[in-house]
Symmetry: C2
Amino acid sequence: MTKTATDSDIQALSASLERLVAMVRRLTPPSAGLSLTAASTLRSLELSGPCRLSELASAQGITQPAMTQLVTRLEREGYVHRGGSPDDARVVLVNITASGRALLHHRRQARTEALHGLVDLLPAADREAVFAAVPALNLLAELGQTDDRSRNR
Amino acid sequence: MTKTATDSDIQALSASLERLVAMVRRLTPPSAGLSLTAASTLRSLELSGPCRLSELASAQGITQPAMTQLVTRLEREGYVHRGGSPDDARVVLVNITASGRALLHHRRQARTEALHGLVDLLPAADREAVFAAVPALNLLAELGQTDDRSRNR
DNA sequence: TATTGTTATACTCTATAACTATA
DNA sequence: TATAGTTATAGAGTATAACAATA
């Protein structure tokens, strides 16, 4: 029946996303050691392997200087490592360390536990609706990631 | 069939939420004028009406001094107003201004437009799964909000 | 000359500790 | 003495502009 998305559908989704962001922020606040951008950058490195600094910056939607500083902090804490490229001496290849992987693992466990507590409070029907939507939500998030808004920096 | 949530369900949801947060951050970056906390605080004021500074702080999961400063910035920009309580002279009641409401409205429009672009790229089945999950996601977010973790500050 | 990354500088956002004013 | 909020100070996180090194 829902052939195309109506504005009111989109607005409801948008409002829901706003609330979910607030929830996630409370589940793993920056006080837990990593800012949202720092955590997201680590995750990205975990998936991609060694990655250029400029690619990391555009993937996170922040500027190159901001990523330089973030990587400097992450390197100081031992979560990433800066290496050079054999092909191009200008390039810096950033990679996640074992310690960085361990940190991600720990954060995921903590959040999973907290989420478990919340999800268990949901009525069964709602719980199933949420899980049923996970693949679609992943697709949506992926589209948002590869969308080239703010690539032009 | 899904009687209780399995760990792998929860982990998939958790990972999905991480990606959605990254997407939302790119849709309305802090460069658009308001940080996530600032926007969330305004939204909260829009819903609740005049609110004590300490309540705002605990609702957002930040400290009282951080909220003092955020409210100072928002007041300087004209988005909120500080008033006293007639009952208790220690209390500050913060309220949103017409300008603050207008800002929220504008941001919502911008995000809704951007989301529309993404949602239209989803296959119809995924689109419907997302919309079908919205009420459940709202409920989940609400549980996360009223959950009293990090109330003890 | 263009690209990759860093440095310099400034502002937001957050925390903890110490303080003021009121209850 | 306890509570509501502010001030002081420090550090993370971000931006823009100017720079160095390499292609």
